[in-house]
Symmetry: C2
Subunit: 506 residues, 2 copies
């Protein structure tokens, strides 16, 4: 049988370990033995936050339905869950157009972090500095603001992943990944030319989209990976057909991602064998693929494709394979980055000897781009370039997010809350074994599986009607993407609702 | 010899026509016969604007150079002209870090429109509505703001190109173009399937980036076109090798763009023949290209690749060719849109019978995306999708821009100023025939050629040192991308400096 992860100690533990003393406790919520006791919150309550969900209609309610009809007249309105009254939303709670108050563990696909209408953000947004940046957005590569170098330093450069000292700023996660790919291809070819100038043949052929100027090179990605939806990024995305179908793609290779079995300690040997199988396949692709592999990209946890993750051993070995073969190693932290796993960057859990060549970010950072070192700065200016090159107003916002994470001790909060939430999910898995499977994840970046897609949809729908806004990952998983201010109290509110929903599905 | 365009009448005229009465005037600036007299401004002066450039150092001055050094420690700093003190900039004038005041006709690559620190923008930016939108950016496809349908309607939907009733919102011009391509491919394949569901083979093969699920289809573009720099858009960009080299590209076709000779009335017959040659080539590519052509994309004026444009006849015929061959017709108005040519959308000058299938926008609109009709809405939700799907704060900004254009009569201003500026450039072309060539363009979206790239660089550098911030287009052109509040007075200030610079180059 499976065991419990360390829980309320605050130290993040990747793999569950036994804590017999806790198993025997009866906690205040009246659960039977096995339910962990709730740790004390390590952060202050969000000012004026709601005490819990409050439902006044079904969701989407009549006002949201009316708005859907209105929107659908001029914009596709088939995917929206409901409309949010952002002026009324607070902290972890989204208030919808009908006045329903929902505990939000989706957060615009993992993009909110320090609370709806965070007072420090609201105050900053009214400052002259923010207003000036907002209404005078510059082409940063040509006419940057005189405040930009200092602004970058105190915001995005105050959160660099270990070992990376350079930044490329972009507009969104997809753009961040694609600009990282471009940097990789440019550096790969520069290295191949031995630093010599472009040849006449290269200069002419690239204008016809032909090699050698438009080289036949590839980015390797992994089954289940999601890296965005434009043409380069979508060629590396391997999550679901609905993301990819009908869109032309580059003939880039895909490697198997380890199928990890849970509980981990029971399947330690099988999982290691599975990881080795995938690593060998990666090496084989690099050595034999028709198009040379210039770079590879991987998420620390596959945020769209089913919340799959492997062990630190797997990622460390992968990084070494990349290095030994001259392949640039890109870590996509668009969804995992900025604290949700209990470390600022999820790949810090791996304790790599060599840093990644690029770490991409967006979402919770609000600003987007990638960190790198000088070897990914192109040989000439104007090569990896565009009009905006990011957005200073979002860098300012990132600055507040990073500061809040540090000053409000939010990583510690994620560790404490995440351990408690994970322990509690293990408890539910024990008690609802036909419904809750494969509890996994790091920090509050957690997930579990339902038996199938129908049950996944049923549970998500039930949660929403009871006041929890969540969504799936892959075909059968429920994913947790709460804000960094999600405390053990919020976890308890969520867990009660989850169990209510599970009871209704039995 | 060439003739003068209509000038101060305010009605936009694409081709110059003779105005003998004006040619004989001596205007107040003391020019010899041929210099048009300056029309009265049709708009109010920008409050508190500078009276002209004021240079206190060379550019970049010591403070900008210091900032370049600082920035270069962590971000590529080889392309920036100088650093702008946006808090001090006003209207058409950028104040740099050293206190130099420059008349800006570059405007962050054509992205500013209603003046640095426009008072209406500053006021709006401090409103609760803006602050709420800024700090709570939603995933609009999932958790949109309850204000979004009305906001869209009063902002971006108040500026729809004729005949288009739907919108897809995005983050930048590149993303707008690539999402339009995706919509084209999805609709093209949906039509090919006769509306039937995806086949099992399509669903499986797309996960391997292979046909039929990842179809071998193409977007046709034109020599000299610029449509962005990510992988799909860069495959259609045909401006300069430095934009494309070392980046893998789709094997998509390129058509010749007409080499138009100036003055137009002298080369009417040759130009028509040249346009017909290119149109025939387009038809040939559509009928014979290895990869079927699903869509074509074209700019009304090639904003990066040399400010090349053809006649309305060319574009009208092209649109018909596209329609007759089932090819979606995309007009890229990222740089030409939002008033700079004297119409809100530059393609309105063509007076098309059938609207384009998609019109993409960004830059001056601040918001980005594309307008279309229902045939480009994908068959299922979540297909043309991403986390942000645009940004409400930029839609709010677009709303102010659109309102200002209407209420402040800015299109009329562009027409009046543009005609005067173009006439005056024709005058300079007559007097400096070895330097100024091929004056062309619409509204204030104007350009002229220098004899070669060296002279282009020399003139741009001279202009900057004298207080005009500008940049080139293509290898030998100077492009004009002033704001929509650029009046005949600003034109005069610019023209004096331009002539000073030309004198120094004689």
């Amino acid at each position: 049988m499976f065991l419990f992860s360390k829980g309320a100690s605050g130290r993040h533990v990747s793999f569950p370990i036994q804590q017999k003393s806790r198993q025997s406790q009866i906690n205040t919520r009246g659960y039977a033995a096995g339910k962990p006791s709730k740790p004390k919150s390590v952060i202050q309550p969000f000012p004026g936050e709601f005490s819990g969900p409050k439902m006044v209609t079904t969701v989407p309610g009549p006002k949201s339905q009316e708005l859907l009809k209105q929107l659908d007249q001029y914009q596709d309105a088939r995917t929206q869950h409901f409309f949010v009254d952002y002026a009324k939303s607070k902290g972890n709670y989204a208030v919808d157009a009908d006045g329903n108050v929902l505990l939000d563990i989706l957060c615009s696909i993992s993009s909110h972090s320090i609370g709806y209408n965070n007072p420090r953000l609201l105050e900053a947004a009214k400052s002259e500095e923010w207003v000036t940046a907002l209404v005078n957005r510059p082409a940063t590569g040509i006419q940057p603001s005189s405040t930009w170098p200092a602004l970058l330093q105190k915001t995005l450069m105050s959160a660099t992943p270990p070992g990376l000292k350079q930044i490329f700023t972009a507009m969104c996660g997809t753009c961040a990944n694609e600009c990282a790919y471009k940097a990789v291809f440019m550096s790969y070819q520069h290295r191949k030319r031995g630093g010599k100038p472009f040849s006449a043949d290269e200069l002419q052929s690239c204008m016809k989209n032909q090699p050698p100027g438009s080289p036949e090179l590839s980015i390797l990605s992994f089954q289940g990976g999601f890296h965005g939806r434009l043409f380069g990024s979508l060629s590396t995305t391997r999550s679901k057909p609905i993301h990819k179908i009908d869109v032309p793609a580059f003939d880039w290779p895909v490697a198997p991602f380890p199928h990890i079995k849970y509980p981990l300690e029971q399947f330690a040997k099988e999982n290691r064998n599975e990881e080795d199988r995938c690593l060998q396949e990666v090496e084989k692709i690099i050595k034999t693929n028709r198009m040379p592999v210039a770079g590879m990209i991987i998420e620390p946890i596959q945020g769209e494709g089913g919340d799959n993750a492997a062990s630190a051993y797997f990622y460390k070995t992968l990084r070494n394979i990349a290095k030994q073969n001259g392949v640039f190693f890109i870590v996509d932290e668009v969804q995992t980055g900025v604290g949700a796993t209990g470390k600022f960057w999820a790949h810090e859990h791996w304790e790599l000897q060599d840093p990644p060549d690029a770490v991409t970010f967006s979402k919770k950072m609000q600003a987007a781009g990638f960190y790198h070192n000088l070897d990914l700065r192109p040989s000439e200016g104007y090569r990896n370039f565009n009009t905006w090159l990011g957005d200073p107003i979002r860098a300012l916002q990132a600055g507040v997010v990073v500061k809040e994470i540090k000053e409000q001790n939010l990583l510690k909060n994620v560790q404490v809350t995440g351990a408690y939430l994970k322990d509690s999910l293990f408890d539910l898995q024990r008690r609802y074994p036909n419904l809750v499977k494969n509890v996994r994840g790091q920090g509050t970046f957690l997930a579990f599986d339902l038996p199938d897609g129908a049950q996944q949809g049923k549970l998500l729908s039930s949660l929403r009607q009871k006041g929890v806004e969540a969504t799936g990952s892959g075909a059968t998983s429920i994913r947790f993407r709460p804000m960094l201010i999600f405390t053990p109290d919020h976890a308890d509110i969520f867990l009660n609702i989850l169990e209510d929903s599970l009871k209704g599905m039995k």
